[in-house]
């Protein structure tokens, strides 16, 4: 399609972008396999031999706990978001009642609300609920802030489903709930996958609520743990890089195995709000 430049320049440009985006990752992985003296001597080079000592140390310091916490909270919040968003989107599109539009706009408005506006009240609320400094403190804000985009994606998707299906089901005497669970919900699978991927990536990487609501290291999620390690290792750069590599690995692996799904899941965030 585009033949503005000749081939050589095109390759040079493509490779420049490749190096700029890719090299930091390579640097991170390469450094994580070096010993400290090796790093100070050759900070830029690739590793000479694979040395897993840094990784062993990171595990000894308890990175697995952060992983466990992150997996737990992400899976629970994504599952809850998927169900709640599907349940709320269906009546918003398919049933006529007085509050259709206002409720939909309320969710739409959530797209532009800066998270920081809610930070202090959520901190106060969490303390009052007795959830402060526990993993569960994150569930409320994570689910709530995942809902707007999920509802927008799902309502668009439901609008495109053929109405004849529900009409036939209602004719056969199925209740709305039955119609939803046995007919509509299974049809939503592709949209549900998109919102699951999108929200999983965002919740997995979320930082500021964790920062405000959790203080005990054993209860921290991975991004908070990475920052704690960063403080603890101070000048041990290979140790820090091993931590970062481990922390980045899960999403990267998921991406390598399901590239197109992850890309389209992430770009779903670009719907016009």
């Amino acid at each position: 399609m585009i033949k503005i430049m000749n081939r050589t320049w095109l390759y040079i440009l493509a490779i420049v972008f490749l190096v700029v985006t890719g090299y930091p990752f390579l640097y991170m992985a390469a450094t994580s396999f070096k010993t400290q003296p090796e790093f100070f001597e050759h900070p830029v080079s690739l590793w000479t031999k694979l040395n897993f000592e840094n990784y062993a140390q990171v595990f000894k310091l308890g990175i697995d706990q952060y992983f466990l916490n992150s997996i737990m909270i992400s899976v629970i919040c994504v599952a809850a978001t998927v169900y709640l968003a599907a349940m709320v989107s269906f009546p918003l599109v398919r049933m006529r009642f007085k509050l259709n539009r206002p409720i939909f706009f309320l969710f739409l408005a959530g797209m532009m609300i800066p998270v920081h506006t809610t930070l202090i009240p959520i901190y106060v609320l969490t303390k009052n609920l007795g959830l402060y400094d526990s993993l569960w403190a994150l569930a409320g804000p994570y689910i709530a802030f995942s809902l707007p985009i999920s509802v927008i994606i799902l309502t668009q998707f439901i609008q495109e489903l053929p109405r004849e299906l529900d009409e036939a089901a209602v004719m056969d005497g199925a209740s709305q709930a039955r119609l939803f669970w046995s007919i509509v919900f299974p049809l939503l699978t592709p949209a549900l996958a998109t919102i699951a991927i999108y929200n999983f990536i965002h919740i997995w990487n979320e930082f500021v609520f964790g920062l405000v609501l959790i203080t005990t290291p054993a209860k921290m999620t991975l991004p908070l743990g990475l920052r704690a390690f960063y403080g603890e290792f101070s000048v041990n750069v290979p140790g820090i890089m091993a931590t970062l590599t481990l922390g980045t690995l899960p999403l990267m692996l998921a991406y390598f195995f399901a590239q197109e799904k992850v890309v389209s899941g992430l770009s779903a965030g670009a719907v016009k709000g």
Partner: protein, 313 residues
């Protein structure tokens, strides 16, 4: 007579049936909409009102007693030079995002459409920064910028440009630039996917017929690709404006707003006031101001959108 009785009992039955269905209907609505709406209102909508309420008090957030001071926090805010600095920094960030991330994202998307070998590798790597958590990315780049062992200074040294070496993040002159470059590294791939998706939608026939009419590649780009990407460019700009209000993690990890608040943003300043200095009332006035700015931006976008739909393209 007989038939009249029949109809009236029929009507009663219908009415009862309607009432039962309506009750079922309401129960269904409450059961299905209720839970999500409750969580959403509790954690997203209600806090906006609480933030405004807190902003009217002098309050440290620890003790329950608050002193009502009406709009004093806002008066203080308007006179706070650091706050204005954060507003300027947020604006600069928006401008920097639009003038760097959008064009670079477009170029990367164009590369992905070019007939080059190793496309899979390019595509895979170009996207990777988006998957890294901002915290991890911030730590990584802090080391890349490190004055002694960081790769940027090492490369400058290697290239014989050691006079260009800097303490990138420690210097008020370069810190904002360094942080902006990192943000650019992180988000350009996002705009790349948006452009790539939009460009996939442009039918090849348009280019074919342009070629027949003797349009060269540059002309094709300026007269076909770019105009057709206009909606994507607008969406992307909107996203970057809204996104810049949310920037926090990266600055917090890399510079904590320093040195000398040269990289301070509204969000980091608000966090500091609330959770480091425990001026919860004052911090609430900052966060409510952020909400008002977001609201104004949203209203402008909606108005512009309406205008655009009215004028035939």
């Amino acid at each position: 007579m007989n038939s009249a009785v029949e109809t009236s009992t029929g009507q009663v039955e219908v009415r009862r049936a309607v009432r039962v269905t309506r009750r079922k209907h309401t129960a269904f609505l409450i059961g299905f909409i209720g839970p999500a709406l409750l969580i959403y209102v509790t954690y997203v909508i209600f806090p906006i009102f609480s933030t405004f309420y807190y902003s009217l008090f002098n309050w440290n957030g620890i003790q329950s007693e608050k002193t009502f001071i009406l709009f004093d926090n806002y008066a203080k805010l308007m006179a706070d030079s650091i706050f204005w600095k954060t507003v300027v920094n947020n604006l600069l960030l928006v401008v920097a995002s639009i003038v760097t991330q959008l064009p670079l994202g477009l170029i990367m998307a164009l590369i992905l459409f070019a007939p080059i070998k190793g496309m899979r590798l390019f595509r895979t790597v170009y996207f990777m920064p988006l998957l890294m958590s901002t915290v991890a990315l911030g730590i990584l780049w802090t080391f890349i910028y490190d004055p002694t062992m960081g790769i940027i200074n090492q490369i400058l040294d290697f290239a014989g440009l050691s006079s260009w070496q800097q303490g990138w993040l420690g210097d008020t002159k370069t810190a904002f630039l360094a942080v902006t470059a990192t943000i650019c590294w992180q988000f350009t791939p996002f705009y790349m996917i948006l452009f790539r998706a939009a460009m996939t939608g442009i039918p090849e026939e348009i280019y074919e017929s342009a070629k027949i009419d003797g349009c060269n590649s540059w002309k094709q780009f300026w007269n076909i690709t770019l105009p057709l990407l206009k909606p994507t460019i607008i969406t992307s700009s909107v996203l970057s404006v809204i996104g810049s209000l949310k920037y926090f993690d990266l600055i917090f990890v890399m510079t904590e707003g320093g040195p000398d608040s040269s990289t301070e943003l509204m969000a980091t300043y608000m966090y500091k006031q609330a959770f480091a200095k425990f001026n919860m009332g004052y911090a609430s006035s900052i966060s409510f101001t952020m909400f008002v700015i977001a609201l104004i931006v949203a209203v402008c976008i909606l108005a512009a959108d309406k205008n655009r739909q009215k004028t035939p393209a």
